[in-house]
Amino acid sequence: MKKEIQIIAYKCKKCGKLHFPFHDRCLACKSRDFEQVRPAGNAKLLTFTRIYNLPWGFDQRYLTIGVAEFENGIRAMGQIAVDEKYDLKVGQVMEPTWAPVRYEYDEAVYGLVLQPLA
C-alpha cells in the first residue's frame, strides 16, 4: 500500500509564509502561530546531484538527491529513485513517495523518495 508523505510544513497564520522544516518563530514576521500543511500534488525538481562519495551508513555506489517543490509551494529534499544513466533535468515533474531512505540498526528510516512521472 502506498504510504502517505509524512512531511508537515508550517504556514504562518499572520503572514502566510510557508516553512519546512519547523521553526519556532516565522522567518518573515516572527509570529509563533502556524497551521500545519501537508504537501500536495507532484513535485517539480529544483536542483539535484548524484553523490559518489557516500557517508557512513550508505553501503552503495551512489545516491541521487534533489530538492523539489510541491504544487502547494512546499520545498523539500528527497532521494531520487533513478539509475545512473537516467538523464534527470531541473524542472522535471516527479511523483513523491514515502519509502525507506536509510537503515539504522537494521530499522528502515522513511523519507521522501521522488520518482520521474511515467
Binding site: 536542483t47 546531484t49 553523490i51 557516500l54 557512513w56 534533489g66 530538492v67
Partner: protein, 396 residues
C-alpha cells in the same frame, strides 16, 4: 573599542599527520605563534580554541582546558569555540572582541582539527552532521552534495562552466605547491583533469556536477595567532597588522528555504559589516583568502564580497584576474583546496596567511607586492554561518 593587532602567528603543515594528536598540533601551532610574538616564557590572559570534532572524532572534550595546561598558560581563561567549519573564524572573533573590549590584553587564538583519524566514509558523515537532521541528513546528503546542488543552480543562473571551476582548481593547486604548509603539493594540468579522455579517471565525479579536483582534501592541521591592543606595542620587531573589521551573519540551515539558493546572503552581509567597520571597500583589498571548500565557492564568494559583479567571478578566474599578479589575488596560499581544510583550523589559518602577506614576509613567488589590506571569509555549514575579517598593515 581598542584597535587590535596580530602580533604573532604560527602554523604547522596541513595534511595527514598520523604521528601527532589533536593536542600536539594545537600546541605546536600555539608555540610558534607565542615565539613569533616574542612572548617566550610569558603567559597570555585568555585562549580561544576553534575546533569542531574533538568530541566526535577523538573522544576528547574541553580541548581548551587541556591546551592551557599543556602549554603552561595557567591560569589563563580558556574555552573551545565550536561553529562547524567556521570554528576557527569564530575563535578569532572571540579573541578580537575580548581584546577590543579591554577585558584582556594578550590572547592566544588557535584552531585545529585532526580529521584523518577517520576513514573517508566516517569523515564524510562527520561533516554531514552540520545539515538538518530530519530534513537533510537522513537522505545521505553530504557537503559535496550540497555544493553539487548549488553548483548546478549557479551554472544555470550565471553561466559558470566546468572550465571556470577547473581554472580555480589549477590556480590553487599551483599555489599550494609553493606553500610549505599546504596539504596538497601536486600541480595539476587542464589536460589531466578536464579536456582529455583520461581525465574522467584522474578526476571522477564526486557530487555531480563537481569532480574530485573541485573539492578540498580532508586534512589534519592547526594554526594560531596572538592578539593584543595596538597601543600596547612598543618598538615592534615586525610590521604591525590590525584586524580592522570583522563581520558575521547567518542564513537558513537548509538550502531549500532560501528564496534564491544561489544568493549567499550571509557572505554578503558578513563582508559588508567587515568593510564598514574597517572603513574600506572591496576595491581597497589587495589579497584575499576565501573559503574554497569547493571551487564554485571561490567564484561565488568573489562575487558576494564585491570583488566582481554576479556572473563575473568565473570569467575573472578564467582570465587569470584572481591569480598572483592579477586584479585581486585570491587564495595565494592554495586555499582550502590545496592548503587543506582541517575544519576548526581553517578560519585561523586564513588570518595567518593574510598576516604574512601584509607583513611582506613571503617569498617572491607567493607575495602580493606591497599588499596593505587583506580579506578572509570563513564559511560555516553551507553558508549558514559566515565570518569575514578585514586586516590592515599599520603605517609606521
Amino acid at each position: 573599542m581598542r584597535d587590535v593587532a596580530v602580533i604573532g602567528v604560527g602554523m604547522i603543515q596541513f595534511g595527514r599527520r598520523d604521528e601527532d594528536s589533536l593536542m600536539d598540533m594545537l600546541a605546536y601551532a600555539s608555540l610558534k605563534a607565542l615565539d613569533d610574538a616574542g612572548l617566550g616564557d610569558q603567559s597570555v590572559d585568555a585562549v580561544y580554541v576553534g575546533n569542531m570534532g574533538g568530541g566526535a572524532i577523538q573522544h576528547q572534550s574541553a580541548i581548551a582546558s587541556s591546551l592551557v595546561d599543556r602549554l603552561s598558560l595557567l591560569p589563563a581563561a580558556a574555552e573551545t569555540v565550536e561553529n562547524g567549519p567556521a570554528s576557527g573564524g569564530s575563535a578569532v572573533k572571540n579573541g578580537l572582541l575580548a581584546v577590543a573590549s579591554g577585558y584582556y590584553d594578550t590572547v592566544l587564538v588557535v584552531g585545529g582539527e585532526k580529521m584523518r583519524d577517520l576513514t573517508g566514509w566516517r569523515a564524510t558523515d562527520f561533516v554531514a552532521t552540520m545539515t538538518h537532521p530530519t530534513a537533510e541528513y537522513i537522505y545521505g546528503i553530504t557537503l559535496p552534495g550540497m555544493a553539487g546542488m548549488f553548483t548546478r543552480l549557479y551554472m544555470e543562473k550565471y553561466g559558470v562552466t566546468r572550465e571556470m571551476l577547473v581554472a580555480v582548481a589549477i590556480k590553487n593547486q599551483d599555489m599550494g605547491g609553493l606553500n610549505p604548509y599546504a596539504h596538497v603539493e601536486m600541480a595539476i594540468t587542464k589536460e589531466g583533469i578536464y579536456d582529455n579522455p583520461a581525465s574522467i579517471v584522474n578526476n571522477p565525479v564526486v557530487a555531480d556536477p563537481l569532480h574530485l579536483y573541485d573539492a578540498c582534501p580532508v586534512s589534519d592541521g592547526a594554526a594560531a595567532l596572538i592578539l593584543c591592543p595596538l597601543d600596547k606595542i612598543k618598538n615592534p620587531a615586525k610590521p604591525s597588522v590590525v584586524i580592522a573589521g570583522f563581520g558575521q551573519a547567518t542564513d537558513t540551515q537548509t538550502l531549500q528555504e532560501r528564496e534564491d539558493p544561489t544568493d549567499l546572503k550571509a557572505v554578503t552581509l558578513a563582508a559588508q559589516q567587515a568593510f564598514e567597520r574597517a572603513k574600506l571597500k572591496p576595491s581597497d583589498i589587495h589579497v584575499a583568502e576565501l573559503h574554497d571548500a569547493f571551487t564554485i565557492l571561490e567564484i561565488a564568494e568573489s562575487e558576494h564580497v564585491g570583488f566582481f559583479k554576479k556572473g563575473e567571478g568565473g570569467k575573472a578566474a578564467l582570465a587569470g584576474k584572481t591569480k598572483l599578479g592579477g586584479q585581486i589575488p585570491i587564495n595565494v596560499s592554495g586555499g582550502l583546496k590545496a592548503r587543506g581544510h582541517p575544519v576548526g583550523g581553517t578560519g585561523v589559518a586564513q588570518v595567518v596567511d593574510i598576516v604574512w602577506q601584509l607583513r611582506h614576509e613571503l617569498p617572491k613567488n607567493r607575495q602580493v607586492k606591497n599588499a596593505q589590506n587583506g580579506l578572509t571569509v570563513n564559511f560555516g555549514g553551507f553558508g549558514n554561518n559566515v565570518l569575514a575579517f578585514v586586516l590592515r598593515r599599520v603605517q609606521q
